[in-house]
């Protein structure tokens, strides 16, 4: 009887093992929608556990910094973000899911960083914050964090369509001395090891992200620059039209996946 039980458990373990090896729809819960899997699912158990625990995730420090900046008065108009937008957990909820977004005044897309700086220079009459510096990163994390768990839902039709098409073309265009497109890695080989790293689907919903390699939170444009440089191509500038269009495409690749900001990656 005991013997039979052991055989049964081994059988069950094997069966479970096989299920784990090959994977099946829904295995990753909310981190998988149809064939789209978040970068989260390609990371190790340890890295995922660190992201899951707000006390261990060092990116959470920027949520606090952003919160402090939210009500800090700055600029000639004597206003803070809160003067116009009050409680961020109400007014900013959902914003992170739909940016970058077509802006009629600009006639092109605008991302969250650019919207923050538009508010600073326009409404607050304050100086714009610099890309990749503490304050702009912290505020972008704080705004995006208000939508944590909400599904990515960028608009790619209507006025956004031509910019979406440009972003998509960029994703599929070979570049650099190594002559690779984003898709060469992220469409052709997700789930495959490239040296020690496992390739994900190259989506944008987790940014700004804390990267262990950077020992810091970084923007999606920083990631784009890194991926451009590793194929020995000249990167574009932070906030360039090329990267904002690419951001829309990378956001669309994550449609339906929950916003993770600040995620944790290696």
């Amino acid at each position: 009887m005991a013997c039979k039980f052991i055989v049964f458990s081994i059988g069950l373990a094997l069966a479970l093992g096989i299920v784990h090896e090959t994977g099946h729809a829904g295995e990753w819960g909310k981190y998988q929608v149809e064939d789209r899997r978040s970068g989260y699912t390609y990371r190790t158990k340890e890295t995922r556990a660190m992201q899951d625990d707000d006390f261990q995730n060092p990116g959470m420090a920027l949520v606090d910094e952003g919160e402090a900046l939210w009500s800090m008065v700055d600029g000639k108009a004597g206003k803070s973000c809160a003067s116009c937008h009050q409680d961020a957990s109400v007014t900013m909820r959902g914003v992170g899911a739909v940016y970058p977004k077509f802006d009629i005044g600009l006639g092109k897309l605008k991302n969250i960083e650019q919207q923050i700086n538009t508010c600073r220079t326009g409404q607050m009459q304050a100086t714009p914050w610099k890309w990749e510096k503490g304050q702009l990163l912290a505020m972008t994390v704080y705004v995006r964090h208000q939508s944590r768990g909400m599904p990515m839902n960028v608009k790619v039709d209507g006025s956004a369509a031509p910019f979406f098409e440009k972003g998509k073309a960029f994703y599929n265009e070979r570049r650099g001395q190594l002559d690779m497109s984003c898709g060469s890695c992220h469409e052709a080989y997700p789930g495959t090891r490239i040296r020690a790293d496992m390739l994900s689907q190259g989506q944008g919903h987790s940014f700004p992200t804390y990267r262990l390699k950077w020992q810091k939170v970084g923007s999606l444009h920083r990631r784009f620059r890194g991926c451009n440089k590793q194929v020995r191509s000249k990167p574009y500038k932070y906030g360039s039209d090329e990267y904002v269009n690419l951001e829309l495409y990378a956001g669309w690749r994550a449609r339906g996946l929950p916003i993770e900001t600040p995620a944790l990656r290696n």
Binding site: R175, Q177, L178, T192, R193, K229, S233
Partner: protein
């Protein structure tokens, strides 16, 4: 004489077939010119090949092994499992290279390294001996090949040891 002509024709056909413009061919003149032979002109081949050493010299397999490991040179381990056990984490984007010398002839391996796109246009594998026709190359690498002609020969010699 006739033989030479056949090879050159095969080379031109290969160039045209792979969409190289004449301008690219001219710009590439800083690198060693090579002749691509295809299966039609040499039926013993399974894929197109470069029969002659790029430098006229034999490669050094021990140096080739160093080149394939070096992340700034071949960085082949990024994508291939190879019998180099002292290096952790071999990539799995391309096929394992153990036994590759029994699957390919020397000239075929040389072409695979020089520019694998002669064989598969869509491949992710970089062309290790090509210096033009790229899009938005970082200025540090403009007009340069990833490997020198002799390094290509060294890597070929190393791969030929993987029977």
């Amino acid at each position: 004489m006739t033989h030479k002509f056949v090879l050159v024709t095969a080379f031109l056909v290969a160039l045209v077939a792979h969409g190289f413009s004449i301008a690219n061919a001219v710009e590439s003149s800083k690198i060693v010119q090579y002749v691509v032979v295809d299966e039609d002109s040499l039926p013993s081949l399974n894929v197109p090949a470069i029969l002659q050493s790029l430098t006229g010299k034999k490669g050094d397999p021990a140096n080739g092994r160093k080149v394939v490991i070096n992340r700034k040179k071949g960085n082949c381990l990024a994508c291939h499992v190879m019998p180099i056990s002292e290096q952790p984490y071999h990539g799995e984007v391309g096929p394992e290279l153990n036994g590759v010398a029994s699957r390919y002839q020397e000239g075929e391996l040389r072409l695979l390294l020089v520019n694998a796109k002669f064989i598969n246009e869509d491949t992710i594998m970089p062309a290790f001996y090509r210096n033009s026709g790229f899009n938005r190359v970082h200025k540090k690498f403009k007009g340069k090949t990833i490997l020198s002609a002799q390094q290509v020969e060294d890597v070929v010699a190393y791969l030929m040891t993987l029977k």
